[in-house]
Point group: C2
DNA sequence: CTTCACATTGACCGAGCGTTCAATGCTACA
DNA sequence: TGTAGCATTGAACGCTCGGTCAATGTGAAG
């Protein structure tokens, strides 16, 4: 018996949520139209009625993931930190904590990352996301360098942002494969020791 | 007509090489017994005769990849560098260059990484590899800290090694998705600016 | 040369995949 | 109430996959 109708938008988000549940738990490879339909308690045909193709469903899922969860928010409690380097470190800490606390998200993120190798559109979108993320670090990086120009001689804002992002991604990778032995505080302590020294010496 | 015979060892490496070719180009998902057999110019049955299961083939491929290519070699031209921090930076530079120059390897590496989320044995092996890799950085990290203890107050050798590995993995991730815009020299310059300052101030 | 263990082949199987589509209900509107 | 249009269903199709297996050729031992 064909079920109730629903608005286009409602159905799409319902299906996308189901797709997210499946993909973030079982992996992108295990994402099946049937599995998504079952999770959403719909028929397989309906999923492909709203997303014409499995590929389009995956792209929509990627957009959903990027828009929902991977945006860097520089909140007020961070902008209010006076010393620029402390701001950067606080931002690093929060990002690492956020990623480590959402292993399913990281997992899905890297699944898409791997898929980007084969899938051109996915690659393009991931590149854009990476650029956005790096760009979000730029202002703070710029302030850090401006506060102590002689200490960071030869370091560009772009370079510092890129290093920060690399570091975060590296931590995410590590926490993804070994979430139990991954100690955020040890990382932050080491980073703090390395970067913090620079600030301490200026004061 | 059933073809020529060959020794067990020879056949296994022949198949493994074919598997590596397929997986590193098309991705682990695209790894098919038929594709591997075709690449090795053998029948599909023979692949499963030597590796009883596709899963066992994948595990063997993982071992092959790890043993062949992901070992950290601390060569003499690096150990001969007098200043410990310079040694560490030289090692970082060489590792980043090595990874960036073998995109197919990185790709396969991260494919396995993603698979480790689902596949327990893969995860275990990747964890062990990560530990080995980190451990290889420990001696140099220890020397760096020992050379300037007051500068690196609160930083442990383990922490410094972990940070170094995270940084490398982060760069690898970045270069994987965006190999064209990835500038190793900019990274090294930024890193050098950050870490190098510490050394410069001691001298 | 004969024999025999076994490496090798490729057709075959069942399962699961993405996708299609005729049939079927819902619902807004007349 | 009737009906037109569309959301919804699930069976069906064609395909590829991992895995099996009877048949066949090979090479070493006797």
């Amino acid at each position: 018996m064909p079920g109730q109708k629903a608005s286009e938008e409602a159905r799409r988000t319902q299906i996308l949520k189901a797709a997210y549940e499946v993909a973030s738990r079982k992996g992108l490879d295990a994402l099946t139209v049937r599995l998504v339909a079952h999770r959403a308690k719909l028929s397989t045909g309906l999923v492909l009625f709203h997303f014409k193709t499995k590929d389009q469903l995956i792209i929509a899922l990627l957009d959903y993931v990027l828009q929902t969860t991977t945006v860097l928010h520089v909140t007020e409690d961070i902008t209010s930190i006076p010393v620029p380097l402390d701001r950067l470190l606080a931002l690093l800490r929060r990002e690492m904590n956020r990623l480590a606390s959402e292993p399913r998200l990281i997992r899905l993120f890297f699944d898409f990352w791997a898929k980007g190798f084969t899938h051109a559109l996915v690659r393009t979108k991931m590149q854009a996301e990476l650029d956005r993320y790096r760009e979000a670090f730029r202002p703070i990086a710029h302030e850090v360098l401006r506060a102590e120009p002689e200490r960071f001689a030869g370091v560009t804002p772009e370079g510092l942002s890129a290093v920060a992002v690399s570091f975060i991604k590296g931590c995410a990778v590590q926490s993804m494969i070994d979430p139990e032995n991954f100690d955020i505080e040890e990382y932050l302590s080491a980073t703090n020791g390395l970067l913090g020294q620079l600030a301490a010496q200026t004061a």
